[in-house]
Assembly symmetry: C2
Homo-oligomer: 500 residues x 2
């Protein structure tokens, strides 16, 4: 920081200056303009390209020196409108199907405005926002059939939810000892098990909590990308024989690559008989618990010791909000609570109220993400989500049917949920060439603003991957995707003559 | 989840239903009403009590069964206006001085609305939002004199920023080995050092990353609550002699209890000579680096290996946003990056662009918190923050002077920064009675809506603690606090006769 002459408060000023506007009416008008612009923006999202690259002049606006002096709020907003808004990631678009990201809603945006204006920190204290989060957590327990005595906390998303749960699971190896003495006090190397399709954020979690990436044991999967439970049992046996310390099984309710759902009831049984913690990563794939026809496939979810899921994925809520539920609230509390003077609860006043939420997670700074969840669940009702999740699943079946009935296309994996992996295959190329071709095809799909699927590698084969957690997609959007895939594929590499 | 008859999509519907409003104009009007209400709410904050308890009927509204069916957006909003908004934590109030929490601004609220409407996930991809976060991180380096080659990431706050840095520091004990094999591969028990005044979130971080709370070594402090560096050196020596593995020193730029700033240059020198990682927790107390007159007190900050700070505390930004800077970007990247197929970067298209931000932190779900930082730094300019931080520090000196000149009051700790600890002392009570009296007094201050300081224990003595990171406070607010403290104190327990 370079310094010039210091700016000193003017002691003669009758009313001291704050960051509130000097002219409230002016800012209010700007706010109304922003709101109109955003409502127009959201209302017309379908008319714009699914994605577009950032031009050089917009990039320049994001590489400026630190602003020294004030600038009109309206000028700052103009800069946003010119250089930021048009180059959105656009997971709000009806044909965004990359990674697993929901699209948010206009009412969610308004709820976030209210939350930011109220501006509470939800770690501690007696105020309505902490009660709203507790209400939301109770609703989560109800959705996922966790007992009322379970605990939970809202997080930025499933990555943090998974890590939050893994810390609790790890501490249970030797309650109190691990918390106080650390991992070196464990009587052996602690191990976590999950399928080879487990999301990398779980491996990252194993690194963060000191277990190490090698000590996340990748269990092989079957042809449907589900964990092989017999192999899991054998691995646990062998690891125990080698003096190691298995402590946790992670089950997948919806893998990132293909949407596979592990045999959760089978995993729960292994965990019970082996006395291991059973965590379920249900980032998006736990949500179909809303659908009676998925009760059997998700059986065992209700038996988990801990469960992670996102509201910004398949509940279509605005970024960012996920959650973790933990059956044993005492274990949860033991992992994160701390008796320090400046956080001690009082009987009355601001420092009274319910137990601090910071006793259940890593954060002492916690925004009011609970408000949008509360408002959106009230606005839509849980059965509206049931309807939309079912529709996304039916759209994935529809898309898979379009793929399998097209001679130019190849379905790359089973479609148990909402993820469709396919490729363009003109029939006369080796795997490496097919990979390059499909990567080029995907990039063109995106560059031309047609649609934004993502991609993955399935046993080394590049797949165009369509993950449907999108409340704005219609069947026509999938027709359009398939037509464009075939058209672009043929333009890059026409099919072999004998196939036409 | 109890299920009734499933809700199935209507295949005959010409336009499929989404979560966007059926009537955009209606939602737009509701949005404008919300915006007006919030602007009024913020404009009149000074006229309302600093805090008020939640009445039973409002609490009831937060304990309802999971909503099953849709409800009008306007009805949901009415519920919010009636039961949530009035019972805010109210860290937006000019006389909120609890814990360390900033008050946000109306423009910050609008920026959050824009961010939520755009709804990007900033983990990965080529889009303007990730470039905005990179711009903000570059500005952070500029503010704190970190080199342009340093890395960083925005977090929910300083707790997460501290943990993010501690993982990097811990992995550097044996690069790659700790990441892959975990903490049990370390050639001794890793130890972290910090003063006994270090914030509990650092101890929590030591638990999370597998070090254990006992292995955060609390170094005693001097009369000014600053770490005793000679004792630190001795502790490191003794721990090494005992076969342990010191790896990290945490310096405090602003302790939570009293705002003490450790001798950071001295700590940097110990870290250098002992080859330890030097992390600075500067949640709020790093921000006076903006003030030339604090350059000497904060000397050594620029030498830190990693630095945590918050934008929602002493930059007065809306919850939630903090940041961590890390000098060695390769070490940072090594801790969090992961080569998996579904996250592989592409040359072009949505999956192109700069290196994923998820390579620098735990989260794969990351909202657009960068937008408010970008817009607010542009709107206000860094020198406006310099002005306001200086004013808060001068206010703390003013308040300390009010305390020391009042015979009924006692200053409980030095006031090096923006935190004033004091108590009402009528002169004829033992310590236990004084503690009970001041706790009652604080609760009455809050219950009567006068002001919301918090509290802490300083060597067992209860102190009313005023932490000033408030851009709305004026000198009159502190006059009012002191008048009320004396009035309430005398009503609870009048001073001894011989003192009057």
């Amino acid at each position: 920081m370079q310094h010039h002459s210091p700016i000193v408060p003017d002691p003669t000023a009758s009313r001291e200056q704050s960051l509130d506007p000097a002219d409230w009416e002016e800012l209010r008008q700007l706010g109304h303009r922003m709101l109109d612009d955003m409502m127009n923006y959201l209302q017309t999202v379908r008319e714009r390209p699914a994605w577009q690259p950032i031009p050089a002049e917009a990039l320049e606006a994001m590489h400026q020196p630190l602003p020294e002096f004030p600038q009109d709020a309206s000028a700052v907003y103009e800069d946003f409108v010119r250089n930021v808004l048009p180059y959105n990631k656009n997971n709000i678009h009806p044909r965004f199907w990359s990674w697993v990201e929901g699209g948010g809603t206009p009412f969610g945006m308004l709820a976030d405005m209210l939350a930011s204006g109220m501006n509470p920190n939800l770690a501690i204290g007696d105020h309505a926002p902490v009660h709203i989060e507790r209400q939301v957590l109770d609703w989560c327990k109800s959705i996922f059939s966790f007992p009322p005595t379970a605990s939970g906390i809202l997080t930025s998303g499933a990555s943090m939810a998974n890590i939050t749960a893994l810390v609790v699971a790890r501490n249970q190896i030797l309650p109190q000892v691990i918390r106080q003495k650390g991992l070196r006090a464990a009587p052996g190397q602690p191990l976590i098990y999950g399928s080879s399709e487990t999301h990398n954020c779980v491996v990252k979690g194993a690194v963060v909590i000191g277990i190490g990436s090698d000590n996340f044991r990748k269990v092989p999967v079957d042809a449907e990308y589900r964990i092989k439970i017999d192999v899991l049992r054998q691995m646990i046996r062998e690891d125990r024989a080698a003096g190691h310390l298995p402590f946790c099984i992670v089950g997948n309710a919806g893998t990132v690559n293909t949407g596979a759902i592990d045999d959760l009831a089978g995993l729960a049984e292994v965990a019970r008989s082996e006395q291991l913690w059973f965590h379920v990563d249900g980032a998006f794939g736990a949500v179909p618990i809303l659908l009676p026809e998925f009760a059997e496939q998700l059986r065992g979810l209700e038996a988990a010791d801990s469960l992670s899921f996102d509201f910004h994925k398949w509940f279509y809520m605005n970024y960012e909000v996920g959650a973790v539920l933990i059956r044993d609230s005492a274990a949860h509390r033991d992992a994160y609570s701390s008796p320090v003077g400046y956080l001690a609860a009082h009987e009355r006043g601001l420092a009274g109220g319910p137990e601090p939420l910071s006793n259940y997670g890593m954060e002492l700074s916690r925004g009011f993400r609970a408000l949008k969840v509360w408002m959106l669940l009230k606005q839509n009702g849980i059965r509206q989500y049931e309807y939309l999740v079912r529709r996304n699943i039916s759209q994935s079946q529809y898309l898979a049917a379009l793929v399998t009935t097209s001679p130019d296309l190849e379905l790359m994996a089973p479609v148990p949920l909402n993820i469709v992996c396919y490729r363009y295959n003109p029939g006369n190329l080796d795997e490496a060439a097919l990979n390059a071709l499909n990567k080029e095809l995907l990039q063109q799909l995106q560059e031309q603003g047609i649609a934004t699927p993502s991609y993955t590698l399935l046993e080394g084969r590049y797949a165009i991957r369509v993950a449907i957690t999108n409340h704005r997609s219609t069947r026509e959007d999938f027709d359009l995707l398939i037509d464009a895939t075939i058209r672009l594929g043929r333009s890059i590499h026409p099919p072999a003559q004998n196939q036409r």
